[in-house]
Amino acid sequence: MTGEIVWITLQVGAAATLLAAPPAIALGYVLARREFRAKPWVQAGVALPMVLPPVAVGLGLLLLLGHRGPLGPLWRALDVQLVFTRAAAVLAAAVVGFPLLVRACEQAFAEVDPRLERVARSLGAGAARVFFRVTLPLASRGVLYGVVLAFTRALGEFGATAIVAGILPGRTETLALGIYARIQLGDDREALILCAASFALALGAMLGAEIFLRRRTSPP
């Protein structure tokens, strides 16, 4: 049972991080490189899912994804059921982890000297080539750190997930949800086992990231 819950937690965390990473990296780059009037508003708006109560995020997602919300007719027409599925758990974790990734990427890109990009452009590289061959590699440490933060945040996501995905064993029950359900049932032993698994997973992810980043930055 614990193994399956750990496996679902890892799947949801990885899928959520992959879903959030491309838009977060793009947005982080724009925020680092462009100045515009609405920028503080965009930054504050992006941070919202991180600072709002997760259950409020969950309610928002429920309204967006549910058959009874404003988009309900669309989901019904498409015959898509998202609420109480693993996809909903992935979405919830992605939304909550997104701000962490954007923030980390913004800082990482801001530290890349724009002159290096201009040199690459002057040597004839296109914008995409400059981004993928110069900017992203130079910012990779900070970006990866953001990815790890978002991933570990996704591993622990509770409030939004419980609302929009429920606690369905074998489908949406992740470690955080499983711990809560067992505390409520008075099953302290199983709750502690799942806590230990959570601890191991979080420590493993952070340790893995530190070691990976250390290898990356050590001189060849």
């Binding site: 991080t17 429920l62 609420v83 996809a87 606690i167 074998g170 409520q184 302290d188």
Partner: protein, 257 residues
């Protein structure tokens, strides 16, 4: 070229992650799994009998999820993919059937209420002691939760609800109500007799006489959204007429009238 190796490593991780994501988003195998939503008070007999059901139905796998019956019903209305609901209140099951979300409910079991308290609380001399000085916090779920409604009705009939209400600590469901006393969060609680048997620290401090017992009728319904109606019906009859019955009775549930 360290930059290239980093990119290669990144690309490899991304590919591995994409495979994971595809797995995560894939729909679970249909038909071979029954998702049962059950009142928390049913947890022990259901867990005990699940293996037996799976042994006689090797093509099926049981998934049991527990919650307050009204919350489970709300999840069904929101589209939760449950196959069977085992409700601690027949009215909740009947309501789902009336809304067209469930087949005809079947009577599953009956239960009783009892008052439990922390070990340091003396047995009550009368229910009025619940409003006395020894007990400051009483665990009782909200009115929507079956055990919450039964307990509040019993308190109201004794004329105690008004005086007890300020001390009520609302709990999420039946088993959490017992856990509140076991874990020291509440001094007393009104719980099912089947739950009181499982107490680790809480003790029975007041037996509610037969004449005062509310009508506590559990019901099983097969939900309309199930993709395996035959298997779902087989599980319900396993609980009502089959080997599941003995597990319910061993846990202290009375047979339906």
């Amino acid at each position: 070229m360290p930059v290239l190796t980093v990119l290669e490593r990144l690309a490899r991780s991304v590919r591995a992650g994409a495979a994971l994501a595809a797995l995560a988003l894939a729909a679970p195998g249909a038909g071979d799994e029954l998702l049962i939503g059950a009142a928390t008070s049913l947890r022990d007999p259901l867990e005990a009998s699940a293996r037996e059901f799976e042994a006689t139905h090797p093509e099926l796998r049981l998934r049991l999820t527990y919650g307050a019956s009204d919350v489970l019903a709300a999840q069904v209305r929101a589209g939760a993919p449950l196959d069977v609901l085992l409700s601690a209140d027949a009215a909740i099951a009947a309501q789902l059937a009336a809304e067209g979300l469930a087949a005809e409910p079947r009577a599953l079991a009956r239960n009783r209420l009892v008052v439990v308290a922390a070990p340091e609380i003396a047995p009550l001399r009368s229910p009025a002691d619940l409003a006395g000085p020894a007990i400051r916090r009483i665990a009782v779920p909200e009115h929507g939760v079956p055990v919450g409604r039964y307990a509040r009705e019993w308190l109201a009939e004794r004329g105690l609800l008004g005086r007890v209400a300020p001390r009520i600590v609302p709990t999420e469901h039946a088993r959490a109500t017992l856990a509140a006393v076991d874990q020291g969060g509440a001094d007393a609680a009104i719980v099912y007799t089947t739950d009181a048997r499982l107490a680790r620290h809480a003790r029975v401090v007041w037996e509610i006489p037969d004449a005062e017992q509310p009508e506590i009728a559990y019901a099983a319904v097969v939900l309309r959204s199930t993709r395996a109606p035959l298997a779902a019906r087989a599980y319900v009859s396993f609980l009502i007429e089959g080997p599941g019955r003995a597990h319910l009775e061993r846990a202290g549930f009375a047979p339906p009238p």
